[in-house]
Symmetry: none
Subunit: 204 residues, 4 copies
DNA sequence: GATGAATGAGGGTTCATTCAT
DNA sequence: AATGAATGAACCCTCATTCAT
């Protein structure tokens, strides 16, 4: 008998990682640059280095591709940022880690971040995408709830506080995208205490 | 006997306000809901209650319409929010007025606000639109600079502080758009001190 | 008492000749420059100095305007060129007069001539236009038939001979339109004997 | 048993000649019949037996298609007619060959000829098209210059003489298109000496 | 499985024609 | 009677999707 793997197929062995993954990355990049609606599907395929028809072997439609892109970006954000939590005892340290993770994510995955920022309520997002978005929101809220329980963080709706903090970061990101500042350690260090003032309980 | 002025003309009275203005409003509404790229021109015309061809009597192209919409929204924002300033001696009061204006604007002009939030770096914006956007940014920065000079507001790049505050409001607006809160007096009152903590000089 | 002309009506009194005539002239000019199909009706109205709606008070459709233009141009050609005839006893002189008339017409009415040259078999021409075209052809053929009867002109289908001579002039006109020569007396004098060679009976 | 070659592939064999070529031919035919401006692009595609979108895979715009059509027609004319020359020692024979080629071209390529006749100064023609047109004119003028040098042909601007001869043929072609005569050997033989009279040096 | 040529519905825009003023 | 704003059919062109190779 022979190894099935040798006979059954010419074994490209995951050519360049993964076709599907390449396509999603290409989509995120182009959707971030040009908007979902203004990006032709063939351009995504070309960016990923495959033929147009090939893309449709991995995604049944442009909408499906858009959702895959959204879910990939949101998923990475969840892993990289929103899920930070448990391991920190001190709320101040926790926030520091969270804020740092936000900077790191936006700096290392600028396309993912820009894409997420703009497709907030895009018409093509399906239930799964919305669910994932809700999961991200909840994860962040949970972290904050813990910090509130710990006592050092301001009272109030944790969802609202997360929205304020995350919104403030969006403001920073837009400044960065406009070239007015860099998403580096300096900016992170300068902004961290400012935004922390927003979270920490007012002193008597 | 009758007034000649009443007889002579069948009283046109600015046919339902103004065609051009209606078209811009329709564009802002639809662009906010569906994105500029994903909104067909005929849909804008229909929303304004006119035929497709009529739109092109007022705007030479979809791009021109997009810029008019952007400039109308930004202009209203400038009038309603960014221009607030001089009349307030106390920085705390000034912020209170500014934050209140932001709430009022987002509540009364939700489409304008949503549109502006999304068209941040749209490819179709022309020099005039960019100039107006810069003017708005500068007006807000100027207000903040005054407050800093006055002493009660945190030091640092006023542009960055404005970005943080405005970003925080974007966070609130998104919560509101998701139905998680209302842009009412209660929310305004609850968030104002939180965001003020972001601006005011740290004690001690 | 007052002059009726002052009271009864503003009396434009055939303002600038005749509206209809102005419109036809404007149409000929623009159709010659830009082609019938590529000329917007409002442009014709503007060229004639009237509103678009006014044009439709004189012509029920663009086609009707096109036919009026064709008939005006052909009619003028008939008067100015094709009808020349009877008064000349000598065929050589007759040809000279005819050739001169052709030059004069093309020089004085360049738009009419260019328009006629291009709309030869345009799809919008109606029966009346075709009939007038046929009348022009027949008038020219009749002249030539006379000359043949007189003896000095080559035998053969007069229609064909007319086509050759008129075609030769089209060649000249195109050169002129390209700026390679002028439709002046010099060119007329230089070409007349050449084209006459085409008509005159070969010497034994 | 069957040939594997018949089974393996469904015999592609250059799908009906060439798509691009078919499209140009369809364009020439329709532009000749209906004018460039009055011919919708989808009609050209349908005439070529392809979908509208397909046409745009071969030509970036209607203008590009128009230029390709013009260049194809002019190019064929150059090959078939204007380039005739060198191999004839006797000017009379040369003219005979040239005139015959003209008849053959107009008879075999009636659409090309009609199209060229009408697009003389069309606004959509690009530099390349104009250059080709100039090349054709020059080729014809060169032939005539040779014949003049040889002595048997009338003196004068060769460009003008070519224009006269070619114009005369246009006259014939219009008669033919109107159904008044045929572009056959009989007409050719009948007209050749007439037009030759236009070219040959007058006898003492 | 991969490709990209082919397609036609749909998007931006123009324009012949109408009609309220 | 004159106007020009209004209209929608039709035009040029793009692009999501399919399918023969």
């Amino acid at each position: 008998m022979n190894h099935p793997s040798q006979l059954a197929a010419p074994i490209p062995i995951s050519r360049r990682r993964d076709r599907r993954s390449d396509l999603v990355d290409a989509a995120i990049k182009l959707f971030a640059e040009r908007t979902y609606a203004a990006t032709p599907v063939p351009l995504v395929a070309a960016e990923a280095g495959v033929g147009t028809g090939t893309l449709y072997r991995y995604f049944p439609s442009k909408e499906a591709l858009g959702n895959a892109a959204f879910q990939r970006a949101k998923g990475r954000f969840l892993e990289g940022v929103a899920a930070i939590g448990g391991e920190y005892a001190d709320p101040r340290e926790l926030f520091s880690a969270w804020w740092g993770a936000l900077f790191r994510f936006a700096a290392e995955h600028p396309d993912e971040f820009a894409f997420l920022e703009h497709q907030q309520h895009a018409g093509y997002l399906d239930a799964e995408s919305h669910a994932l978005a809700a999961q991200v929101d909840e994860a962040a809220a949970a972290v904050l709830r813990d910090a509130q329980a710990n006592g050092e963080v301001r009272d109030g709706d944790p969802t609202l506080l997360v929205a304020l903090v995350f919104g403030a970061f969006i403001g920073i990101d837009r400044q960065a995208r406009a070239g007015l500042l860099a998403l580096d350690d300096h900016t992170r260090a300068a902004t961290e205490p400012i935004v922390w003032a927003l979270l920490r309980k007012d002193h008597a």
